[in-house]
Amino acid sequence: MTIDLERPWRVGRQVAVRPEPFGALAYHFGTRRLSFIKTRKLLAVVQALAEQPSGREACRVAGVSDAELPTYARALETLAGSGMIEEAT
């Protein structure tokens, strides 16, 4: 899937995120899948999703530079693909 960064996103309703020294673990209680959020910055993006009007804005407030944006968009795409984050409606 490709992620629409202009849309609002949030952590999945059945998902719990546990901060760790490297970033965080995300667990989906519905699919029983565990994912690794591999950097602190990606964790900051994920945590910012709920309060920001768009994925792009969440990246910006978390300190993701324009150069880094494609990498973080791909990471968010992976998280969306496994249901760890979902579009906020």
């Binding site: 546990r18 020294p21 490297f22 029983r32 565990l34 994912s35 690794f36 591999k38 950097t39 992976t78």
Partner: protein, 395 residues
Amino acid sequence: MTAIAAPAPRLVDHFESGLNAPICLTWELTYACNLACVHCLSSSGRRDPRELSTAECMALVDEFQLMQIFYVNIGGGEPTVRRDFWEILDYATAHDVGVKFSTNGSRITPEIAARLAASDYVDVQISLDGATAAVNDRVRGVGSYATAIRAMERLSDAGFEGFKVSVVVTRENVGQLDDFKAIADRHGAQLRLTRLRPSGRGADVWDELHPTAAQQRQLYGWLLERGEEVLTGDSFFHLAAYGDPLPGLNLCGAGRVVCLVDPVGDVYACPFAIHDAFLAGNVRSPGGFATVWRESELFQDLRKPQTSGACLSCSQYDACRGGCMAAKFFTGLPLDGPDPECVLGRGESLLDLLGDREVPRPAADHSRRKPSRPDRACDESPLAGLEVHMSRKGS
């Protein structure tokens, strides 16, 4: 498990220095068991009178919830023989602690199967150690194959998709991998293969039952072909030294991402290491489980960079990382030496060199004094002569 692609130092390095809470916590609820499998890693059979009470179990679940331990692997013994098992299960899932429990299937009635199928938070793992009754029952006891298959049918009939069929790979069943896969597929389940460890009663049968070098090679090829389709619980990371790593973290997680809470609340570095040398503390002590996990001296030590001794100069060290701590320990090999099943044969040579030796015995033996395994069946089996072997090794 999936890894999110993002620029980062190797995740494994973080895991080696420990996490705020375990990723994979095994909680053995009871040493009581209605079977007496010859390779039981926890030497289960009889209930321990000091077992955690229902209230203590619930308090422990509260702690897991606080630490955000997303799920626990419940085992035993046979966990469902505890009268409060379903109560503890419901309590955990109501407190955001998912449960995967291992069972021999004897208590999976159609009603229970329906109840389990209805919950997202519960996963079930049926143990099966042979794809035929002959192979399975020789290890797990007469009738246990039929019991396990019946439980799978009930789960499948109830619409439980993706439960696990869990197989300990042995010399006798390694030729049945395709058959195991077919059994899992037929019931809409997922196959999980794990390594036979010389832990608990497993120490008594390890020499006879652990796969030969040629079988290991075959197993590796089979697993590599199936990829993430077949689960392994990161069990076979020592095989990575053959070439490509298998899916998983490929490291010994003991005390770093893995631990065991036993029925009396003792916390060990891993489920295969029930011995004082790997005992980190007890959940009944002040500070509870969290303090044991975060502050115990043993776990702190395990999270330091490991010296790799004899293996340090090996070109494959980065692949296998010295193998399984418990496998080394219970075969009497040095912890900084090769795994007994080192694919380069270094463990085997060292075992030959050491010859007859004292091997550590598990901290707790809850085996029933009279094995329920029928003596007659043993006369024909490669396990005949077990007693002789035990006395050679025993201490």
